[in-house]
Symmetry: C2
Subunit: 241 residues, 2 copies
């Protein structure tokens, strides 16, 4: 049995190495990669079917890497080990996990014990192991309360990238008014409308404010933006305008 570790912080990498050694005596080789890109290459070459990886990495982030790994071998078992339970990350992971794949999501702040349990659970027992805190975010992000639908989330990203309503309409093949409708839903859900009587009426630019709130609440984060920007650029290229 082979395990591939993808993590850019050397300290955390060696800690993971230890944990894998301790939790999985049946594992004979442990491979390491120090960023998402190297990780993809390693996974391809070594045919490792067990991967534990960080989400936030400089060269290429974990979500990207996981996606290509899963695209090539959808039965790979991946344990995500992240510092954050930002909604944007959780949503990002949920978005790419293929049908029936087994994976896990634990926070770096969990105990050694829980990490080892997760390693065995995901790699040996083929269970999906997801930390409580993360699960909480997941619920919230799907629940109706102030969770955004996929459609709303996508529009949020487009807006955050700085596209105009017209541009979004074109991209999403919708009418201008539909885009604006979705925007209004977004404003509603993100609770952007100011309570009356708190200063002059026009304090906020709703469009900007919605993005600010999303960033503050971690519904959106920098890496989600980067992903969006990349998609935008490639889409723009394909248009052959």
């Amino acid at each position: 049995m082979k395990v591939l570790i993808i993590e850019d912080d050397p300290l955390h990498r060696s800690y993971l190495h230890e944990a894998v050694r301790a939790a999985l005596p049946e594992c004979d080789t442990v491979l390491e990669a120090e960023n998402g890109h190297a990780g993809e290459v390693q996974a391809r070459q070594s045919r490792a079917e067990h991967v534990v990886m960080d989400l936030q990495m400089s060269e290429r982030n974990g979500i990207e890497a996981a996606r290509t790994i899963w695209r090539e071998r959808p039965d790979t078992k991946i344990l995500f080990w992240s510092n954050y339970s930002d909604e944007a990350y959780v949503r990002g992971v949920a978005r790419i996990v293929p049908e029936g794949a087994t994976y896990g999501y634990v926070l770096k702040s969990t105990s050694d014990e829980r990490l080892k349990l997760a390693l065995r659970g995901v790699f040996i027992e083929s269970q999906c192991v997801i930390d409580r805190e993360v699960r909480g975010v997941q619920q919230k992000s799907l629940g109706t309360a102030h969770g955004l639908s996929d459609a709303e989330y996508e529009i949020l990203v487009d807006v955050a990238l700085g596209l105009t309503d017209k541009a979004i309409a074109q991209r999403k093949k919708l009418s201008l008014r539909s885009v604006q409708n979705r925007l209004q839903q977004l404003y509603e859900k993100l609770d952007v409308y100011e309570e009356p009587g708190n200063g002059p009426e026009g304090w906020y630019n709703l469009r900007m404010r919605a993005v600010a709130v999303a960033l503050l609440r971690k519904v959106l984060n920098a890496s989600a933006l980067e992903r969006g920007e990349r998609e935008l650029r490639s889409a723009r290229g394909n248009e052959a305008h």
Copy 2:
């Protein structure tokens, strides 16, 4: 000699502890705190004059903590040890270091050797030790090329928080048109104007796009936004409107 370590990742904390022990034999006590808030309390109680801290922490981030520590004892020597050299962090630190204080800024990716040198340099020799990469960002952020002036940066934050032009004008005690002028400078510097002939003219909402670009280039980041939001709220409170 006492040294206080403020860092929320336990692995990094113990690594720092080791490094301090090894680099500073003259140090007799090493204290630890696991977030910015606890760090401030520890600093006050222990009267430690030597602090090494992380910048990105959950409970209270390093910049906040450093500011209150320096406010109470401006001669404290602080070594910042961070994962990132985001312009927003570098600018944030530069913004709070008091006149004549000695401090350092090294990245977590530097070698053990350099970290130890920095520890001795800052704590023993009272030098300012700043990593090359960070220095690069510092230059850039001050240089005219695409560095923002303080005025522009502040407006950028206000816009990113979602304030309208009018609200900003009021806040900054400027006329509406002046605010818009500064915005135009911002658009210019962030290079938001699209090259003609690349799709329809009106692809971008300049206001949003400027913020998106700033985020992508790390001129702005989530923690800068949070800081801005907090200031905004307190200012709003004081207005007694």
